[in-house]
């Protein structure tokens, strides 16, 4: 039987969700029998492949590149999972949305106020969006896996349920934050 193609993506987040994914420890070995990791920050593939079965997207959508990236991922993925609080709610990344002119305030704070040398806005990086968004404000999301981060057990449970063709039920199992 062909292995299920799984991808994991890291947008604006802290990578904590990916750490938690890795925390599945030895269970990853079992998973490896069923899935093929076709794209991830931890594998060395540059372009997001076509025909991915499941993609875990960590992090909020905070800049133009990520916006574009997420749209491509959506087109090439059957089941898109919002992975962790930043992807589900915007979480810490979206806290800047509370400021009036959030992009300017954030850049000012990070690149001018809090630095000693060469105070300047970065120029060679993707432009920040006016607000940071949870994934479902930008694309259709098929499954939400909240948590900051979601626990390794929960990730494992969800993945296995999906692999077995069931819809995981989160009632009573997850926790925001």
């Amino acid at each position: 039987m062909a292995k299920v193609k799984v991808a994991t993506v890291w947008l604006s987040g802290c990578s904590g969700c990916h750490m938690s994914f890795l925390d599945q420890d030895e269970k990853i070995i079992e998973l490896a029998e069923k899935i093929e990791l076709v794209y991830s920050p931890i594998v060395d593939i540059k372009d997001f492949p076509e025909n991915v079965d499941i993609t875990f997207v960590e992090g909020a959508v905070a800049n133009e590149e990520q916006l574009h990236q997420l749209k491509t991922i959506r087109e090439r993925t059957k089941l898109l999972i919002a992975f962790g609080d930043c992807a589900v709610t915007g979480n810490v990344v979206a806290l800047r949305n509370m400021f009036q002119d959030s992009v300017k305030e954030v850049l000012e704070r990070a690149y001018v106020e809090n630095v000693d040398h060469s105070k300047q806005y970065p120029t060679q990086v993707p432009k920040l969006l006016e607000n940071a968004h949870p994934l479902h404000e930008v694309v259709k999301v098929d499954f939400y896996l909240p948590g900051c981060p979601p626990s390794a057990e929960l990730i494992n449970y969800v993945l296995n349920e999906i692999l077995d063709g069931r819809k995981p039920s989160l009632e009573g199992r997850f926790k925001f934050g």
Partner: protein, 234 residues
């Protein structure tokens, strides 16, 4: 003590209750769970959060179980797909109404709203979140009032009024602009009437009123009003 003379049916089960009981009380005494948020034993029922709504046979309207008294032969449904859908929507609306970023909230892990989301499987909000910035009053030496987390359940207002007997707190404005006020809209430190008893922080279900530098798991005491009321009765 009055007897349990009222017979009613809750979720198909025949149960007995006192004539003065509410549906919520009757359900609870019989081990039937109904979610609540603004309700707190020992305080006047408020009927604001609408989580405890139930279907009562013969009544086209949904009734809040915390305020509706039992009556003989009443048939109540506390758990139906429609009710649970509404409960999930209400939890979503509360999460979206102000900033509830659990990961950085002082109440993370001891928050009733967070627990409810878990229990009802509210894994995201289908309505967009509101990122409006509200004030945080940190002027008091011991307490913080963070409007960004407030769900306007008014437990603090009621405990202050009914248990402490001071009525420092109330609501100002209306609708989505409603917010808790201290005295005549003073900073907390300037409050003339506040006794600094901390009951408001003990009953706040979320992280809106809390004691500085203390884990909320220690300072929250939901049972406090019920305990005081019980004592007063003796």
């Amino acid at each position: 003590m009055s007897e349990r003379t009222v017979k009613l049916v809750i979720d198909g089960r025949e149960v007995f209750a006192k004539p003065t009981d509410t549906i919520l009380k009757a359900a609870k005494d019989n081990g039937i769970y109904i979610p609540t948020l603004c309700y707190l034993e020992g305080l006047t029922a408020y009927g604001g959060c609408r989580l405890c709504v139930v279907e009562v046979k013969g009544n086209p309207k949904l009734m809040t179980s915390c305020t509706t008294p039992v009556s003989n032969n009443m048939e109540v449904i506390t758990n139906s797909p429609r009710l649970n859908k509404y409960r999930k929507q209400i939890i979503e609306l509360l999460l979206a109404e102000r900033t509830h970023t659990c990961s950085v909230c002082v109440a993370n892990g001891s928050c009733e709203l967070q627990e409810l989301a878990t229990r009802f499987g509210v894994d995201h909000t289908s309505v967009s979140r509101n990122w409006k910035r509200f004030e945080i009053d940190m002027t008091h030496e011991r307490f913080v009032l963070d409007h960004n987390r407030c769900i306007l359940c008014t437990r603090c207002i009621r405990v202050c009024d009914e248990i402490e007997g001071v009525h420092v707190l109330d609501v100002k404005r209306r609708g989505k602009d409603s917010s808790i006020v201290i005295d005549l809209d003073e900073p907390w430190a300037a409050s003339y009437s506040c006794t600094s008893c901390g009951k408001c922080s003990a009953v706040c279900p979320v992280g809106a009123i809390y004691v500085k530098l203390k884990p909320l798991s220690e300072t929250k005491k939901k049972e406090l009003p019920e305990f005081v009321v019980e004592r007063r009765r003796r």
